[in-house]
Amino acid sequence: MLLSSIFCLILSNALSFRRDTAILYSRIGIIILFYCIYLCYNNLFITYLDNGIGLFGGLFYTSPITQTFHILIFIITLLILNLTGFYPRKLISSQYLSLSNLLFTKLQFVKNIAVSNIILKKGEQYTILEYTLMLLFIVIGSLLLISSSDLVSIFLSIELQSYGLYLLCTMYRNSESATSAGLTYFLLGGLASCFILLGIALIYANLGVTYLDSFYVINNLAGVLDEQQITIYIPYCLLLITIGLLFKISAAPFHFWSPDVYDGIPTIVTTFVAIIAKISILTLLLQLVHYTNSIYITSQYTWTTSLLISSLLSLVIGTVLGLTQFRIKRLFAYSTISHLGFMLLALTINSVESIQSFIFYLAQYSLSNLNAFILLIAIGYSLYAYNDKNINHNNLIDKNNSPIQLISQLKGYFHINSFLALSLTITLFSFAGIPPLMGFFAKQMVFSAALQEGFIFLTLIGVLTSVISAVYYLFIVKTMFFDGHSYTYFSSLKDLRIPALVLQKNKVVNKIYFNSKFSLSSSLSITISILTLIILLFMFMPNETLHLSNILAIILFIPGNI
């Protein structure tokens, strides 16, 4: 069933503890993830899955929603592992491109110091062996979190996920900023966990249950019986848990850690930290909000009103504070906060349409955010061959691990590699919600759901903030397109010819020379182009995604009737 995939993960991790190169290790991770996707996809066809099936004595459960988000997480992790699983640059020789030559010949580079300084220059990500292992553990944590149906298992899996993330942040031991950011993350995350634990403890003390289903039943019964003594604590307990959860997804007003942490840790890790934790916790919140929406603090307000407040604050803070950022990862952190505002809004409305929009928003935002970070990494790789004349850019801390840190480093990038610049532009416009792109449809669905349920004020705030946030997205676009760049191609690379030996059955057949035209390796370029095309051409094939989210939302509302 569901957990067989997880066991498979753990087992394969335990077995493959060979000290091989990290690249091989990531590739094993990719294969594992492919297998997991296959398993998850098969699980979707289980009968009675619509009602949700309890596992392990009710500690966990599985339903179409959990399965779908599992697949989403697998896909995203797969793409992230893809970044470390392959070398970032390649050289192409048209001479040996035919299939038989590709299969039966081998290439060996002749050692050359000038070349290896630049071509083989790589961040620390290729030397850390535990990277894949940590990633897979975090993925296990988030999978369990998505499908947990017991307060205890919620806490345990949150901790599993969070500890993995803390460790992942501090994994680059040589980098000062990464370790300090990891420590910040750990301390504040620990605080958040305390809140969650407190909430859980209070619920247990008052109701005597930890099992979520019975918890929901008690809630609804209490609403009918009008026994105020039982339910009076519940909203506050839920509020405490929610504070903890909002802390972990860095929604305002609990967002202070996220820009620092994002900025401090290496870009590859940021990609993972920014996306995975949000998917799992937001999916958990979806279940929680949906079933406990009817608990009232007073006669008018449900406890989810606090989520609305958080949504409003996220929208405002994410956009306004983002305006002053000049470090690109901090800016992405703030943009994430403002997008969280939209997601929380959709989450709190809790109608069929809003849940649909929530699911769609979460999926599309994860994918486009992933694309943005991959693009940042790719841009960093492509700039290795260039010499930056701007002195400010050469003295950045931790430049090896996250080469692009300032927005001004992207100056005039359009004139260096127009396709990467265009892809980033498309992604950013999608963030801003410009029509034919995917982000627009998500925003439009959220607005539509909000207007239908009468949240006019928040809709107007959403409109205003999306215009304001367009300013900083446009600023990046402007930097890339309209400014001149300060990069010069390394002079030693200009007329460099890189010798390589062609081997056939271990015999040297030929010696060929590559000219110094580096290009991004196919793993990066294919990933980027697929994601960008999905964002760009979403308008022409929205059926599958929209129907999927629609069906999931309907299933949540009418279980058993589909």
Binding site: H415, P436, L451, T459, V467, L474, F482
Partner: protein, 488 residues
Amino acid sequence: MSLLLLLIPLIGISLVTIETNYGLSIVNNIKIKSIALTTTIINLIVSLIMFILFDFSSKQFQFIEEHYQVSYFDVYLGVDGLSIYFILLTTIIMPVAILSNWNSIQSKNVLSFVVIMLLLETLLLAVFLVLDVLLFYIFFESILPPLFLLIGLFGSSNKVRASFYLFLYTLLGSLFMLLSIIVMSSIMGTTDFDALSKANFSYITQLFLFYGIFIAFAVKTPVIFLNTWLLKAHVESPLSGSIILAGIVLKLSLYGIFRLMLPLLPKASLNFTYIIYVIGVITIIYASFSTLRTIDIKELIAYSSVSHAAVYLIGAFSNTIQGIEGAIVLGLAHGFVSPALFICVGGILYDRSSTRLITYYRGMAQIMPIFSILFFILCLGNSGTPLTFNFIGEFMSLYGAFERMPILGILASTSIVLSAAYTIFMYNRIAFGGSYSVYFVENIGDVTRREFILLLVFVVFTVLFGIYPAPILDGLHYSVSSLIYNIN
């Protein structure tokens, strides 16, 4: 055939990119540009064929193409008596726009210029072709990124500010329109124009929808105090950008009024006519006086666009056949004259002297006689002199306005005097006003053949339709009469 119109520029884009990336010969900028030009001309021919085949005795949508399989939001294209003229306007202006920047784009940027232009053509045509409100909004908005890049990449000194203004102003306005469209679709459950026009929204709903949509179109038209983006964008953008902005993008709001406001929200439009008229009259007078004082020639013409736009805005809301037809005619006429004036000052004069300030020009009639004649005809057009196309449009718009609200109509009619004043004043300062300016050290040549053709296209259209407007007015009668709302 409507789909063909949209696909031809896209095919052009792919041809151009393939040519540069995989072309066997050395990348040739002339070749890239001529591919783009050919593409737009083919598109012009297709649209002319469409115009010939168009059945003007019907007010149904024609050349309808529906593609339900393609998209969740049905790709549903069609043309009626209103949109056919805007489509023709677009296809006429696009080749001119590409031709106008033929020499002034730096060689390494030619590819991106051409791609942006062709993309803009597709998106603009799509706005006029789609018969679905949501798709209308999508394409209405999606012209922003290409325009942003066009102005930012090829604009003059203050381009960044201009492109930001353009993008943000329009985005803010349009998002309110999005809210209105969402409300419409959630009430009716459909976003189809035909189905929506059968609906009768309650009065209060109409009011809110009206506000939302009007904010978007007020920014796009633009009315006074919301026109900052227009001036900046016009002044800083490259010549082709100005041409497209003045010729087509400003007409999007006019077209939107006929598509979204008049048929869908008749009661609200009728009851709020006076607000629009007051705004329009203020715009006309204020913009005209500002135009008199402006010394940047490009900004001057941009400002005159603002006051003309207010005239056709007033005409469009007059609820008379003459007024609405006049609005469309003035829109088309302005779409011919204003780009031509931009070519005159932003292209011909600026290329030769590299200044836009009117104070540096004097006595151009002595050294550029052909230019001065063409420029003079266009200036007459801009001020709405009889026998030009603008005159017909302006007269009919003001006639409609006067019939609807006499006092405000009279005030609006000051535009006749004021537009003549600022246009002739400008012409006088440039063409005459003493001898050849001492600021120019070298001699300035008269128009080249390329520039002459560009201007001639517009001059011929303006004068020809000014003398014989029947081809356009006849086609409009049927479609316009369905927009009239009878209070009884």
